[in-house]
Amino acid sequence: MSSGRKLAIVLGSFLIGAICLAAYVVIWLSYNPETITPPSSVNSSGQLTTHLEIATVGSIDFGVHPSWVAYLIRQHGKWVSSTVWELPAHSLIKVTLFEYDTQTGLRNPFMSMVRGTVGDDMTVNGKTVRYMNANYPAHTFSVPQMGINVPLEGIPQSTYPGTISGNPHGEHETITFSFRTYDPETVRWQCFVPCAAGYLFGNGGPMQTVGYMDGYLKIV
C-alpha cells in the first residue's frame, strides 16, 4: 500500500474517531436533567421562604416512559417533569404536594413516620399527621442526607388513580409540610415506596431514574 494511501486511511480514521468521541461526550452531557427553581419570598421579619408545589402521579403519560410513576413540579402554573430543584440556602421550604397515586405500602414500615420536617409532622387534607399506617403511603419524599422523611398518603385502591396528560386530574390527597435548608450543598432525594412494576423488589426502572422517583436538591 502506498504511503499516501496509508496516511489518508490513518488521518481519516482519526478524524472519524475524534468526531465520534466528541459526539459521545456531547450525548452524555446532553442528558442533564432540567433544574427548576421554585419561587421564593421574604416576609416582614426577613425569613426567606420558598414555595414548592409538587404532584405525584401513577403514570406520567408522556415522554420516553409514559407508563412510569413520576414526580412533577409546578412552574409558572404548568406541571413540569423535573426532579432537580434549586433551593436557596438558609430558607424555609414550604411544600404543597398533590398525591394522585394509589396506596401501595412501604417495604420498610419505619418510613411511615414523619421525620426532619418543621414540627416533625405534616398535614394530610388539613389534618396534622405524624405517624401513618404503613399500608397507606403511595410514595415518600425522603432526603436521607438531611434526615427528612415524609410518607405521602395515597388515594384508596378502589379509586381510579390520577393521571395527567399535561395536567394532573382526578382524586388526590393534599399534603403540606415544611423543612429548612442550611449551608449550600447538593443532596439527593428519593421515594421509599417500591412501586416499579416489572422490576425485582419494585425498585428498578423509575425508582432508579432521576426525573421520575429520584432527584437532587441543589441548595445554593
Binding site: R107, Y131, Q145, R188, F192, A196, L200, F201, G202, N203
Partner: protein, 276 residues
C-alpha cells in the same frame, strides 16, 4: 574481579533506607482507621507491620534491581562464557525466605482474626459467657435501597436512622438487607460487613472512646450507592454510657410509637413486594 561488591553496596543502601522507612512508619505516619475500637487498633497495628514488611521488600527488590541495571548497562559483562542459568542456593534461599515471610504474615493475620482481644468477624468469648454484663449490645443494621436503618432489639425493637452505640461495651452488629447486596462500612470502628438479603452477617466491635462514626455503603447497590452514607450531620456516634442512656430514653419515646408497625424482630426479613 570480585562481583561481591555488587551485592554489598545495594545491601548497604537498602539497610539505610529500610531503617528510615521503618522509623517513619512507626513514629510518624498515622495509619487509619485509628484507635477508636480494639478492632480498629489492631488493624492499624497490622497495617504498620505489613507496611514495614512490604516496604522493606519493595526497597530491597527495587534497589538491587536499579543497581544491577545501572551497573551492568554501564559496565557490561562481556566475558563470553555462558552465563549462569541456575544457582540452586540462591533459588532455595529466595523460596525459603518468601515462605517464611508469607507464613509470618498469614500467621499474624490468623492470630489477629481468631484472637479474642480484637473481635471483628469472629464471636468473642465474652459474648458467649453468661451474665448480663457480658452480653453484647445488639444493633441490627438493615440495609435497603438506599439508606441504613438500625434496630435495637434489646430495647423494644425500635428502629432509627441514627446509629448510636456506647463505649466500653461489646457491640454485636447483625447486618442484613431488604433487597440487593449492600455493605455496612463503619470506618472509625474498623467494621465492614456485607448486607445480603436473607443472610444475617455478624460482626463485633468494642469501642474504647467516644467517636464520630462515618457509615458508608461499600457495595454497589444501584443509583444512590455513593450517597448511601451517614456522615456529617447524619453520622453515627459512639457515646459515653451516660449519653447513650439518655439517647436511649429520647429514642424510645421518639421512635417508640412507630414500633407497633414494624415487623417482629428477626435476623432476616423478606418484605413484600417482590414484584418482577
Amino acid at each position: 574481579m570480585s562481583h561481591r561488591r555488587h551485592l554489598i553496596i545495594p545491601a548497604l543502601i537498602w539497610a539505610v533506607l529500610a531503617v528510615v522507612l521503618d522509623v517513619l512508619l512507626v513514629l510518624v505516619l498515622h495509619l487509619p482507621p485509628g484507635y477508636a475500637t480494639t478492632t480498629a487498633s489492631d488493624q492499624t497495628v497490622t497495617g504498620q507491620v505489613f507496611s514495614i514488611i512490604g516496604g522493606d521488600i519493595f526497597f530491597a527488590v527495587v534497589i538491587f534491581g536499579l543497581y544491577f541495571i545501572m551497573q551492568f548497562s554501564r559496565y557490561p559483562n562481556r566475558e563470553r562464557v555462558p552465563g549462569a542459568r541456575n544457582n540452586l542456593p540462591v533459588q532455595a534461599t529466595w523460596l525459603s525466605a518468601s515462605f517464611v515471610l508469607v507464613m509470618f504474615a498469614a500467621g499474624f493475620g490468623v492470630i489477629e482474626l481468631e484472637g479474642q482481644t480484637s473481635p471483628s468477624l469472629v464471636v468473642p468469648a465474652s459474648a458467649l459467657a453468661s451474665g448480663a454484663a457480658n452480653h453484647p449490645l445488639i444493633v441490627q443494621v438493615i440495609a435497603q435501597q438506599w439508606q441504613f436503618t438500625y434496630r435495637y432489639p434489646q430495647y423494644g425493637g425500635f428502629e432509627t436512622q441514627q446509629l448510636r452505640i456506647p463505649v466500653d461495651r461489646l457491640i454485636q452488629f447483625d447486618v442484613t438487607s431488604l433487597d440487593v447486596t449492600h455493605q455496612f462500612w463503619a470506618y472509625q470502628l474498623g467494621i465492614k460487613l456485607d448486607a445480603n438479603s436473607g443472610v444475617n452477617n455478624v460482626g463485633y466491635a468494642y469501642v474504647l472512646k467516644p467517636t464520630v462514626i462515618d457509615v458508608r455503603c461499600g457495595e454497589l447497590c444501584g443509583l444512590w450507592h455513593g450517597y448511601m452514607t451517614d456522615v456529617g450531620e447524619q453520622a453515627g456516634k459512639a457515646l459515653s454510657t451516660a449519653s447513650f442512656n439518655s439517647w436511649l430514653s429520647y429514642a424510645e419515646s421518639y421512635y417508640g410509637p412507630e414500633e407497633s408497625q414494624l415487623p417482629k424482630f428477626s435476623l432476616t426479613y423478606f418484605p413484600q413486594p417482590l414484584t418482577y
